[in-house]
Amino acid sequence: MNQTISQTKPKSLLYLDGVSVSFDGFKALNSLSFVIEPGELRAIIGPNGAGKTTMMDIITGKTRPDEGQVFFKGDIDLTQRDEAEIASLGIGRKFQKPTVFESHTIWDNLELALNRSRGVFPTLFYRLTVDDKARIEEILSTVRLSARRDDLAANLSHGQKQWLEIGMLLAQEPELLLVDEPVAGMTDAETAETAVLLKEIARTRSVVVVEHDMGFIRELGVKVTCLAEGSVLAEGSIDFVSSDPKVIENYLGR
């Protein structure tokens, strides 16, 4: 398997090989390896403690792996960079718990996320251009929050916050989007709408979705990776994975 992976490295968008990390003796990731191709929408499932969030932490530079390689776009070594740098490279991340800037308006949240120069002085002397304005309007309507643009993000409902966060990720214009449990706590209608939204987004970029909701994953209809105890248990279509006995034993538990 390692061999095939190293061959795919140059053309893959994201490439993890043999990544391990442990906290106080607990091995959160155990020689994890997998690859995301450009334009791919991938779902990741796995039981609690399987290392899904830790994997995202490693990709986004929040946690440094003890060993292993993480490459972006073939040759950018992500283990040597910090969060801000990785974000500027074009990797966006949505947290498990919706994290938006609560004391800012929805508009300001998007303005902050907009992919513009992020240094101290460019922001200090930043002026909202016509283009930027149009872009924000566009995202507002994509995430269906146009009507509430001047409200504080704190006043949004849980589902709306999730969307706002997705909207912010869109504004960031990443090439790779990591989405952690986007439909947790959403109504069925919202869930269905989110699936549509994600698929729409995946048309222009790669997306990795971590989710427990099997219905939602089925709705996405994409390649699924199942993690357990820090490494890949099975990979393939949802039907293939969910019929794997190891997956059933470890995760689906039926």
Binding site: D24, F26, A28, K62, T63
Partner: protein, 538 residues
Amino acid sequence: MYRILQTLLITLCLLVSAHVTGLRAADDLGALVSALGTAKLAELDDRIAALAKSGDPRVIPVLEALGEGNLYARKADGGVFLTTEMGASLVLVDPLDGAQLGEVPKGELQKIKVNNAVRRAVRSALGGLTLFSADAGARLKAAQSMRQTPSADALEAIETALAAEKDVTVRKTLDEARAVTLLVSDRSDDDKRAAIKLLAEGGGREALGALSSALSSADASLKPDIEAALQRIEQAQAFWNAGQNVWYGLSLGSVLLLAAIGLAITFGVMGIINMAHGEMVMLGAYTTFLVQDVIRGSYPALFDWSLAIALPLAFLVTGVIGLAIERSVIRFLYGRPLETLLATWGISLILQQSVRSIFGPTNREVGNPSWMAGAFELGGLTITWNRLWIIVFALAVFAALLFLLKRTSMGLRMRAVTQNRRMASSMGIRTPWVDALTFALGSGIAGMAGVALSQIDNVSPNLGQGYIIDSFMVVVFGGVGNLWGTLVGAFSLGILNKFLEPYAGAVLGKILVLVLIILFIQKKPRGLFALKGRAVEA
């Protein structure tokens, strides 16, 4: 030689004058004692020597009383008496036969003034007189005093005593006393060489002093020997100095630990930036003062127990105050740690000013019980009892606290509440009550620390302020939320400080320690024993 002559001459004169003026005196000794009453400060020296010369054991209590300032002369007739204080009056005791002579108001008597020179004279006179005492302790003291202030006259007496001495410790001291004395005598160079050798082997600071003073007056032939001996002792001292620094570091570390340990609960475990922590320490110290005040006034015999009595009381007093603070202020501020800083700062101002209004702004006297006073020698180390007890006490408190948190159900609840309040409360733990008790515990421990710190520091309203910054440094350095971190942090900062102090001086040493802490936090932003993992930053 000159000195002997002088003493003899003066004694003679005294005897003569005593005979002339002292026809009414029953015996010579009485006259000698009475002569103390009329002597000027400068004359006392010689009159003490005269008394000592008599060799009469009855002189001992008189000299002791003189040294302690308990010898008085009656204004009316110049009679000299031993006294003990009884309120505003003095109980008179006949200097020679020890008979009680009744109480007299202070005003009727005149204290016989003494100064350091007189006290030294008394000490060496007593040394000569008690060298043959039946009590080994008294002999040891005598030997020590002869070692301290060598006088060639005493050499023969020391040698006689040495011949008869059986006690090993007294013998060793006497040996050293003899060597030291020999150096100032006119014995042969060979004898002196032997003495130098003995001193070089024994080491110690007294030997160093005696040898270096001998160096200036000794014959040229002896100088190389003395220099070699000095060098040898100094080498040994250098070794012990390092050990002494470690000891001082441990001792400072234990003080830091005591000051910080309550904070490790209120700040480390509960997350309250408790600026009133120092005031809890201060209140503990004031509790000690109150206890001692009552004891001094009513039960003087209990004085040695004062700290044992004060400890639980201080724990209670500060614990209750802590409870009150938590219930009235802190409980509204959970989840807003930085605001606890402001509120507790306000509380600390109020507590300080309250104490200042009640007890006054000046220092209050807290005494050392006898078992905490003084020092003993361990090899070349001087170890003071109070520091030793404070280290023991700090470790005991630490152990008890660790036990409480890790092994009792109360501790389990405390940890549960501080780790996940909501979960704990849904499991039926009464979280507000646990919060209050945890804060009270932290405050109570701070109060107990105050009892110990009252032994080495000022008991004033400002007491707590001196410790608050250091306490925070220790807790943060060790890692918030980790008791072991506080322990290791306290002792490593203490030792670091004491090793820097000889080179950099006290001020610069402290600055360096602070800078090192700042740099350390850059390296390990969550302290020495940080909790690792995903949960921390979430």
